[in-house]
């Protein structure tokens, strides 16, 4: 398993999605933060401005009612109209207002002379040797050249809030984005690693290594599911490949032999044309060879027809018990003649849904198989047993059975346990049995528990 390359990681979907998601989260968080911050600051500013306005309105009232003297009186601190520098400390401490009243010739009549604020000028300045705290101030012209300015120290909250906002913004950008980068990298690398492992396996299978399988970690996660599904596909692919191989060899071998024999007979007919009885003999033998070839084609066509599933329209309910019992009766003499015996245990009255013609062929093929392969003197048992959900049909002998190695392969096309192919048969009978079982949604197995070769078919009763 090779590790994913950087380029592959950067190009991966997971990486891009993690980055996009992180950027989205940061943007959203910043928008919320700054929105709420702006509201809080506006509230602080409004409160400040409200108190300043209050004072200015009061000053205006005093001026209009009693003239500048009343304002001077009101602004006075410690009995003096002009504040010294120490008075500012008290203002700062008490969260009070700064004020200054300037006369028509700009002379300071009362308040702190270092507060510079003019009407229609937004910026205000507090000139103090030690206090550099920012202030907000507003000024109005009272009439006759008198200008009253009122100010307040900007509360610490406001500055703190702004600092906080700036800090959080920085932190979000500096910490979260790189973190997202790292997370995305690690995440996409781990995902890519699994995906690459699976896709590389698929590539190897595609390149011909049909036995390769994707690793399943056992965690039961989505990758295991994908690997499992792919492995099942590979199994099918491998089986199909083996099947095609077997079919090619089977067709080549099983067709070639009778055709070669037929050709031999034709040559013999040519040689013996003066002896009619020999010609008749050769013709009969040639016909038998040809019959073998045609039998293989018939079986292949029937197999194709069944596997294509077209026959499902012919499904109907029928009495399986009667069908099985009838076949048992038909076949029993054949077993006797072959020095074998056919025992029957058929439960009566079992109905199933299916194609009776095909089920008949299925049972016939199983019985043909037993007739051909069971040893002499064998006791073959044909039984039909009801289960709540299925009808269980079994055909088995009491012989040595089929070796476990070959057990899975007996249903393959052209498979012959006898590799020399010297026995009769074409290796298609059990393939057809399997195809008919599949068409009926039935399970078919060669019972591994049983002594002897026992084929068990479970046909759903539904």
């Amino acid at each position: 398993m090779s590790s994913p390359r950087l380029r592959e990681i950067l190009a991966s979907r997971v990486f891009k999605l993690v980055l996009a998601a992180a950027a989205g989260f940061v943007a959203l968080a910043l928008a919320a933060l700054w929105g709420l911050g702006a509201i809080a600051i506006a509230q602080i500013d409004a409160a400040q401005s409200g108190r300043i306005q209050e004072r200015l309105e009061f000053g205006t009232f005093l001026f209009e009612a009693e003239g500048p003297e009343a304002i001077i009186e009101a602004v006075m601190r410690s009995g003096r109209p002009i504040w010294d520098e120490d008075a500012i400390y008290a203002v700062l401490e008490n969260d009070a207002e700064l004020a200054v009243l300037r006369g028509p010739d700009d002379t300071v009549l009362a308040g702190y002379p270092g507060l510079y604020a003019w009407p229609d000028e937004p910026d205000a300045v507090l000139d103090h040797p030690e206090i550099f705290h920012p202030v907000t101030a507003e000024a109005i012209t009272l009439g006759e050249g008198y200008v009253l300015a009122v100010g307040r120290f900007v509360p610490d909250d406001r500055a703190e809030l702004q600092t906080f906002l700036r800090f959080v913004t920085g932190a979000l950008l500096v910490i979260v984005l790189p973190l997202a980068l790292i997370t995305g990298f690690l995440l996409s690398r781990s995902v890519l690693k699994r995906v690459l492992a699976i896709s590389q396996t698929a590539d190897r299978v595609a390149a011909g290594a049909l036995a390769e399988r994707a690793a399943v970690t056992g965690a039961g996660d989505e990758f295991d599911k994908m690997a499992g599904a792919l492995n099942r596909m590979f199994d099918q692919l491998e089986a199909t490949g083996r099947n095609i191989e077997a079919v090619s060899i089977g067709v080549a071998h099983d067709l070639k032999t009778p055709l070669a024999n037929l050709r031999g007979r034709l040559e013999l007919i040519d040689r013996d044309r003066k002896r009619p009885e020999d010609v008749a003999r050769h013709a009969a033998a040639g016909e038998a060879h040809l019959g073998q070839v045609l039998g293989i084609f018939d079986a292949l066509l029937r197999l194709g027809e069944v596997e294509a599933g077209q026959r499902r329209q012919a499904f109907r309910r029928f009495d399986l018990s009667a069908l099985v019992a009838g076949m048992g009766e038909s076949y029993a003499p054949l077993f006797e003649d072959a020095d074998k015996s056919l025992g029957q245990a058929v439960a009566p009255g079992l109905d199933v849904q299916g194609d009776p013609d095909l089920i008949q062929q299925l049972i016939a093929n199983l019985l043909d198989n037993a007739l051909e392969h069971a040893r002499d003197g064998a006791r073959v048992q044909l039984s039909l047993t009801p289960l709540p959900e299925a009808a269980v049909l079994s055909v088995g002998d009491d012989g040595p059975g089929i070796s476990p190695v070959l057990r899975d392969r007996v249903f393959e096309r052209f498979f012959r346990a006898d590799a020399s192919r010297s026995r009769p048969g074409n290796g298609l009978g059990l393939s057809l049995v399997k195809a008919i079982a599949d068409l009926h949604g039935a399970t078919l197995e060669l019972d591994p528990e049983a002594q002897g070769a026992v084929f068990t078919l479970r046909l759903p009763r539904g």
Partner: protein, 225 residues
Amino acid sequence: MQVLLLEDNAETAAFITSGLSEIGWQVERFATPEPAILRLGGGGIDLAVFDRMLPGMDGLDVLRLVRGAGVTVPVLMLTARAGLDDRVAGLDAGADDYLVKPFAMAELIARLKTLARRPPQMSLEATERVIGDLRLDRVGHRAERGGQPLDLSPLEFKLLDCLMAHEGEVVTRTMLLEKVWGYAFDPKTSLVQTHLSRLRAKVDRGRETELIRTIRGAGYVIAAP
């Protein structure tokens, strides 16, 4: 016997024509459906053999046309397809029998002779069949020969009944599989031969005359000597 053969393949047509000529039947061969349909309407035909795959037309449609026109001549369909449904479709369309290519000439002749001998209705409904000293009681499910009851299994009884219904005619292995067993396939094993030899043992063994005979390469025939 006047046979109409509708078959576009020249080699198959020649094979069938020569086979039927050998038993003294006259064959009129047509390669296209239209003149054949006209000829059938004209009368004087005893039997018809249709190929299913014809140029430009399905043999089944030809058959439907002919039957629609009220022609009752027995028709045997030939087909290259061994599909299970094809047989049912052929019989539904009004064919009297159905044969899958490739076939043996003996099989075709046996089936055509059965068709030619109609009406089968009567023989199907008979309550008793008698051939020589062999009697078959179809109501009581009993059989006897020379007055002695024969101990037949139900299957052997059906087999004998089928043979006797075709007295003097060759009944082929596949015909027996269809009629007695109801199998739409050909088992690899010698199912028919085994049961027939058992039946023969019960009917003919130890008798002076043999009623059931094997016709090599064709089938079986039951007939009084």
